[in-house]
């Protein structure tokens, strides 16, 4: 079904808001002490090409260990890519020196997974936020600075009177609000949220999701929202990218991914979401994958999904490298003929 389409994702580093161009992030495990044999290379991110449009929320889903956190840290330039280029508003972040990147960082911020670890326990909320505000406004001080902190706290739905409190005096949800306020403090254009709700109670999750969604809209932000939970991502995201073993297997509008997923892996993920309606739930057809994701240390050749594929396949699947291809307008999938066939 993919013959009519040009393989690959169209990118325009000058025009698009955020561009990842064939990004690879490998971790070299070094050599053994005496024999000097290579211990191997972990291919955490293995050729990701992606664009993010200004103002959208891109959801990035995948199982744990698929490289989504590494990808987020690579975009954040906390880990430099092994190869490939990353552009934000036409500026190539991956080419900047460590020194120059420091001054760019106020434009892209991150919200971390664990609100119990992402705030400095020795600093009050006021100190934490004031420090972040000063990256954008170095001369801010006194009442103006405190006023801005209060404003940020209100924005994330917290009482500014609590600004002199320490992180351990707040609940997980409140801490995550503070962490969001800190990310907003630099007035960034792009926010990467790495599993921002997975450490929270379910009752708090929806509050934080709504907050993130509202802030993105109201402040004109662009967000990459990372999660292992497709039901969370489909709630918040405009577009969704499905990641597996360091590669993107499918990419499209949220409705496209949710309503008619093309890749067998996405279909398996979708089929794993329980349905609230018991009648629908009874007829839910689960696609069960075999085994666990293989180690990114020695990823399988060819379509890297073959060891777990529930569909029949032959040797070609193990040798032909699939390419992300536009199957229908805006809807891309890795063009492995076995993975794309109808169940």
């Amino acid at each position: 079904m993919s013959e009519h389409h040009e393989p690959g994702v169209r990118i325009d580093p000058r025009e698009d808001f955020l561009v990842l161009d064939d990004v690879h992030t490998y971790f070299d495990l070094g050599t053994t002490l005496f024999t000097r044999e290579s211990k191997g290379v972990v291919k955490a991110v293995d050729g990701v090409t992606l664009t993010v449009k200004a103002g959208e929320i891109l959801g990035l889903v995948g199982e744990s260990g698929c490289g989504k956190s590494t990808l987020s840290r690579t975009i954040m330039q906390l880990i430099r890519p092994t190869s490939g280029r990353i552009f934000l508003e036409g500026k190539e972040l991956s080419a900047l020196s460590d020194k120059d990147i420091r001054h760019e960082r106020i434009n892209f911020q991150m919200i971390f997974q664990d609100p119990y670890a992402s705030l400095n326990p020795r600093m009050t909320v006021l100190d934490t936020l004031a420090e972040a505000i000063r990256t954008r406004h170095p001369t801010a001080k006194g009442n103006a600075l405190r006023g801005r902190v209060a404003e940020l706290l209100r924005t994330v739905g917290m009482n500014p009177a609590q600004m002199k409190r320490y992180p351990h005096e707040f609940s997980g949800g409140q801490r995550q609000r503070v962490a969001i306020a800190r990310a907003l403090a630099t007035e960034p254009k792009l926010i990467i949220a790495d599993e921002p709700v997975s450490a929270l109670d379910v009752s708090i999750q929806s509050q934080i999701l709504n907050l993130l969604k509202r802030l993105t809209r109201e402040m004109g932000l662009t967000m990459i929202f990372i999660s292992h939970d497709l039901s969370v991502v489909r709630y918040i995201a405009d577009r969704i990218a499905v990641m597996y073993l360091g590669r993107i297997l499918e990419l499209g509008e949220a409705s496209q991914i949710v309503d008619h997923p093309l890749h067998i892996y996405t279909r398996a993920l979708m089929s794993a979401i329980p349905q609230p309606d018991p009648i629908v739930e009874r007829t839910r057809h689960r696609i069960v994958l075999q085994g666990d994701p293989p180690s990114p240390l020695n990823p399988p050749e060819g379509c890297n999904f073959w060891p777990r594929s529930p569909v029949e396949h032959d040797e070609r699947m193990k040798h032909e490298e699939p390419v992300l291809t536009e199957i229908e307008p805006g809807h891309y999938a890795a063009n492995c003929p076995f993975c794309l066939q109808e169940a």
Binding site: R73, M76, L78, I101, R102, H103, E104, R105, I106, Q109, M110, F112, Q113, D114, A117, S118, L119, N120, P121, R122, M123, T124, V125, E131, A132, T135, N143, R146, G147, R148, A150, E151, R154, T155, G157, M158, N159, P160, A161, Q162, M163, K164, R165, Y166, H168, E169, S171, G173, Q174, R177, A179, R182, T186, I204, Q207, N210, L211, R214, M219
Partner: protein, 313 residues
Amino acid sequence: MTDHSETAVLGNEAAPVPRHSASEIAEHELIQGSSLWKDAWSRLRKNRLAVASLVIFLLIVVASIVGPWLVPYNSQEQDLFLGATAPSAAHWFGTDTLGRDLLVRTLEGGRISLMVGLIATVVSLAIGVIYGATAGYMGGKVDATMMRFVDLLYALPFTIFVILLMVAFGRSMWLMFVAIGAVEWLSMARIVRAGVMGLKKQEFVEAAVSLGYSHKRIILRHLIPNVLGPVIVIATLTVPAVMLLEAFLSFLGLGVQPPNASWGVLINEGQQNMEIFPWLLIFPAFLFALTLFCLNFLGDGLRDALDPKSAKD
């Protein structure tokens, strides 16, 4: 950005937001937080042994500082006719073989011993914390080079190192500070490095990097305050260790030189006539031991207070 206070009622966990503009928030309206230091202090106060140790230690410190002025004798004034006398109303701790008042000598000895302990600890703290934090934060080759240097210094036998210093530069108290400081900062650097390496992987440090903070700021504001707990404990335990080293050096005749006294010097003098004039050994040794006990109990108490998870009960 507009005022979002009306949307703040997002969830029941968010406290109600007062409806006024930012500049109106006065200091008294702010809820004062309780820092981890404050929490630790309140835990320490409940530890009776630690508090008693702290009080006794402070008493000894104050007595050593103020005492020599209150005792009506000079520590170096000899009275050879008097010689060694047992404790009496005139000389509470007795006198030594040269007829010097032992009370004033013990207090002045305490001054020097405590000063050595505190100064050497502060020096080792300053060097060790900065050095260890830098090595741990930078990692890689910088870390490897810095820590091999520490290993190298560790491998030097301390006594021989000090004897060589004394031979080369002559005996002086300042040289002893250098010698002790040069040894004690090594363990401090290792402990801080280990702490920083553990912290470095925490998300708040990643967040600080993402915010574009300088290395200096990250080390000083985000890493060091978070390793200070164990550092304070180690420092408290380093003071007695340093005092013991000083006593050891003075005992060997390499440290403080007579007629100046330190507890080590006094104990050395005392043990020479232990069988005839036991008070010459008993008083300085008792005060020295008491100080060491206090500091060790205080260190234990601080460890439990600063890291409640490690407390036994």
